[in-house]
Amino acid sequence: MTTVDRPTPPVRTHKAERTWVGKSIRRVEDPRFLRGRGGYVADLVLPGMLHAAVLRSPHPHARIVSIDTSRAEAAPGVHAVVTGAQAAELTDPLPDFGPNPAAHTWRCLAVDKVRYVGEGVAVVVADDRYLAEDALELIDVEYEPLPPVVDPLAALADDAPLVHEPLGSNCAYDRTFEFGDVAGDFERADVVVTDQLRWHRSGGQPLETVGAVAEHDPATGGFRVHTNSLSFTSYLFMVATALKIPANRLDIVPMPAGGSFGSKLFVTKPLVIAAMCARLTGRPVRYLEDRVDNMANCDHHGSDRHYDVRMALTRDGKITAIDIDTVDDYGAYIQFGVGHHGNALAQVVGPYTIGSVRYRVRAVLTNKNQQGAYRGFGSEVNNWMLEQMVDKAARELGMDPVEIRRRNFIRSFPHFIPTGNVYDSGDYDAVLDKTLELGRYEHWREVQEQARAEGRYIGIGLITAQERSVFSATEFWFWFDEPGAPVTSMPESVTLKVDATGAITATLYSCAFWGNSPETMVAQLVAEEFDCDPHDVSVVYQSSKNGLPATGPGGSRTTVMLAGAVEGASAKIKEKARRAAAHLLEADPDDLEWRDGGFEVRGVPEKRKTLSEIAIMLHLFKHSFDEDVESGLEESKVFDHPYTTMPSADRKDLGVFYPFMGHACHLPVVEVDVETGVVTFLDYAAVHDCGTLVNPRSLAGHIQGGTAQGIGTALYEEFVYGPDGQLQTTSYLDYPIPTSLEVPELKIGHVETPSPWTPHGIKGGGEGGRMMAPAAINAAVNDALAPLGVRITELPLTPDRIRAALRAAGHGS
């Protein structure tokens, strides 16, 4: 029997009256972006800067027999040509959180063989990008093609060609976890629903690619690198290792990202390539991926899963157990390990009181670009799988999709799910009620019935699903019995400075800006603490060298973590200011209260000092105070993950690792043209609960924008690899991203159930609509096609797939 210690943090009391937190305000970041002055990595020009371009493999799997760079080296404007073998001398392997990095070694350029179409084999550094690309064409590479490993199921066969010979298998990870009495629950079940599902790979595809500008200092051997990928800030020592320098010789300067959606999470390859080339040439070097690099070689394709699932239920629709077997096609490398499945296990039972879970995951390596992060990080796939199963069960039991969900909702919090993770709070009925009303569920059911009578196929999708937020890094290592590690704190830090005039500057220590709004959010939180206008707060980003501990965005953690850091730093500032004010007012510090931007003697409002009055004294007239008071008014807070616990030794309980649980209900209404397979939206309602809202319109932006991406995932976007291993979708003509004509305007609603354990009760919500939309749209299409006996379990639902399913069911030719 597994015993698990489940301490919970103290429950917070949240302030009832708030001035700025919860108010929709214009973002403080926007004026510079609106003027085209965003300061992206491509905009940075340094004196003497050279440009790098990478030669990509045309083969999915081939031995590199020889590379002749002599013609390229002699080309005009070329300063250096580096092959993969040379790069392996100049750099060490890239940081890798995978199961067995020594056996699936990942480098900035391929060394002796290429493992996917697009993998880099050489880099040219030249005076400009045109000349660098000219020279790429003069590099002669002789390849010996090898049979490609494309299908992940075939890759598991004993006689399959190996992507990494030292691994001895294409299966990088295989383990089955059991949480609760799965066998017993299935034995006792009245009904067992089974299915196979298939989620194909897509990706974030931000309109700005990833890049870096590197400067090398030969005097110290160190680097200063400007890049638009700087997350996992506390892990940058690993990047220094790849460059073979001490960590204190690396300074990484964060630059705003023109979108990420996860795909700029800890991207080290462009940074290492640029730095390597800067050291070699003695000049600053820019390496910025072009679009084909980003589509074929970005290390951040999304999940690519096959599922075999069984669900156990009672006759009246109560779900008791779920048994999930998934094969995930990771591509040629596995940088983030199977952390994607940690994300799934954080909320594997959705909002339902499912009592036991079996979860088998096999991570398979194939000749494709590797998986990284895409908004949801694998939990959005679990949402889709689970909601598909719930809908199938409802259909088999003759229940309404609303009814089966209500029958299974968790209603008591905090709730520990079978995997050990906790759901802090929620009100799933309230979210569902609001969605049904906003989305006019009954109305659309009537319309649907009339339409069916006219031979039209309207479908209503209804899903209720989770959005976990604020990960703990245990989910990257609890897969293994050894090495064990303590829980990781995953901190985030803020420094607040009140200058001599009383103006406030906040300094942040991780990724600059990803299209989210850290500056607005921090400005609002600071304004809430100090009763100022958020637009008067200045927010700056520190480079890594002088940085405090930080982790960076990912897993919807930024708002909660920065809120904790702002709260902590503000408390320290206020404590110093209180003592100073007490001294100036000749009052007892305990008699002072903070009110409207200053400290005053309780009950004596005329005896007061504003923050500005206190600040100027502390900055310029320190000798007015006691000996132990130092000049200035600046404080920092390193805020650690507020609630994470150890997994049990036998891994039958994974501990608390993703505790702040958001929830949403999506209700799209679609019409499917059965002649063409085209899906159009008639309506779309979405209600999210991410705890206390900070800037409601920012969250609405994540819901609308995330849903647009989810529409891409559900209907259009797929990185298609042919049976020959060629990537067939290397442009936006072949990889269609939704335009304004494909995205409906959502009816958005909010419910707020505060977290008991975070500042103000905030939960993360940045992954927004993409957590829900693929599941919801698939449900809507299946609902539309139900009268034809068609149910599709494969995304994206392209017109081809819809037509094929209709033909298979005997409808049309």
């Binding site: 973002r27 045109y130 931000p206 309109l207 700005e208 609308q704 924008g705 442009s731 995205v743």
Partner: protein
């Protein structure tokens, strides 16, 4: 490589440049003229991130050679704000949150300038149809449509919207 002399009028300012015939207009704007507000997205003419106006019509500057624009009047995002005062479209994008990461924004703004110059009073549906030329990966477009309609109203009334807030 040989170069050719071209003349461009960019945001009202006439410039003569010597460029390689193969150099793309977007690279000339960004590198030769330092106007880095025009961004590069897909590099094959689909996403519209690099949109600028040539003689009042939107073009993809990533698939246009600079020599093809010889003699043309070019407008970019840098020409929109007048000193501290934002253009009504920029104001409306800010007010309605018609941007998140800001990367598609300059191209989207220039496309919207063209839309409103052709039709000062477009319906939301017409805006939706016309901005389908430009991809935005962040917003889901709804707030952009709203912003364009709001800006149109302000521009029709001849008023300049709002006041500048320090950036």
């Amino acid at each position: 490589m040989s170069t050719r002399e071209i003349t461009l009028t960019v945001n009202g300012r006439r410039t003569t440049l010597s460029v390689e015939p193969r150099k793309l207009l977007v690279d000339v704007l960004r590198e030769d003229l330092g106007l880095v507000g025009t961004h590069i997205g897909c590099e094959h003419g689909v996403c519209g991130t690099c949109t600028v106006l040539r003689d009042g019509r939107s073009i993809r500057s990533c698939t246009t050679f600079a020599v093809q624009a010889d003699g043309a009047d070019i407008r970019t995002v840098e020409g929109l704000a007048q000193g501290p005062e934002l253009h009504p479209l920029q104001e409306a994008f800010w007010e309605k949150q018609g941007l998140q990461c800001g990367y598609c924004t300059p191209g989207m703004l220039m496309r919207c300038v063209e839309i409103l110059e052709r039709d000062p009073d477009p319906t939301p549906q017409s805006v939706r149809e016309q901005i389908a030329s430009n991809l935005c990966r962040c917003t889901g477009y709804a707030t952009i449509t709203e912003a364009v309609c709001a800006a149109a109203e302000v521009m029709r009334s001849g008023a300049r919207a709002g006041t500048e807030v320090a950036s």
